[in-house]
């Protein structure tokens, strides 16, 4: 399998971060607004947010989208 050493390490980390039950990208999208708000107010911690944060660890596409969303929100708040 053509993977680089870094990719194999990433895969091992993904396995570590894997939960028995995970929310998928659609469910993440339903919760991402809540997560973005919580990032501004870090004291908040609910099960829903913890599941969304776990999804982020294993999903690079939702990470990419969250970065873009936070950038937009930051621009808007200026």
């Amino acid at each position: 399998m053509g993977l680089t050493s870094d990719q194999i390490n990433t895969l091992a980390q993904l396995v570590v971060d894997t939960a028995a039950a995970e929310i998928d990208c659609d469910e993440f999208l339903r919760r991402v607004g809540e997560l973005a708000a919580a990032l501004a107010e870090p004291a908040t911690s609910t099960r829903s947010l913890r599941e969304a944060a776990q999804h982020l660890k294993v999903c690079p596409e939702c990470q990419e989208e969250l970065r873009a969303l936070l950038e937009i929100l930051e621009l808007e708040s200026r």
Partner: protein
């Protein structure tokens, strides 16, 4: 950024649900502005793309009003939907079923990069992962997991396999869970893997 939806959000949602042209127009310009900002640094994106993504996003938001959970500001959720629509379209654009096939072929048949001998613990873990991926996963789980790891978007894998992106997520999740179980059976629990990874960092 508001922490949860407000009474004003609720009245706007009601207006959007009722098809109020002014409310829809305001949503459209807000989304267009956000996407223009988010995509400004990307090459190969023109104003017509922004308009297309905005139109699709407005349609998705209006169709999904019922699924809005009121735990964030409505605008934040609507913008998240717009980002999903635009990024999915851009990911799809970069890949054809043929290029996905080509990539998967080289990922599943190519050789692993060699781990330096100085990193013996890692080399052992890498060799074990290689073995478990080759013997413990179904061909589709293997292709989805390696493809995703190599940056092939879920939407492109989904099109190639004729399933939904959600089904690809489930395949990779099943694959990760299986690997976790198989690694545990070989003495690598999460803490052991984490310590191998932390070593030499």
């Amino acid at each position: 950024m508001g922490l949860s939806s407000t009474p004003r959000d609720r009245s706007r949602i009601a207006a959007l649900a009722a098809g109020d042209a002014e409310a829809i127009g305001a949503l459209r310009s807000r989304i267009a502005r956000g996407l223009r900002a988010a995509l400004a640094r990307r090459s190969g994106i023109c104003e017509a793309d922004i308009e297309d993504f905005t139109q699709d996003a407005v349609t998705r938001v209006l169709a999904g009003l019922d699924s809005f959970r009121h735990e964030s500001a409505f605008d934040t959720w609507a913008m998240a939907v717009a980002v999903r629509v635009a990024f999915t379209a851009l990911r799809r654009r970069r890949w054809t079923p043929a290029s996905v096939d080509e990539r998967l072929e080289s990922l599943t048949r190519g050789a692993w990069a060699a781990t330096p001998e100085s990193e013996r613990a890692r080399a052992e873990l890498h060799a074990l992962l290689h073995e478990l991926i080759a013997t413990g996963l179904t061909p589709r789980q293997r292709a989805a997991l390696l493809g995703e790891l190599d940056g092939v978007p879920q939407v492109a894998l989904a099109e190639r396999f004729g399933v939904s992106p959600g089904a690809i997520y489930k395949m990779t999740h099943d694959a990760r869970r299986k690997l976790k179980r198989l690694l545990e059976a070989r003495g690598y629990d999460a803490a052991a893997i984490a310590s191998v990874l932390a070593d030499g960092r």
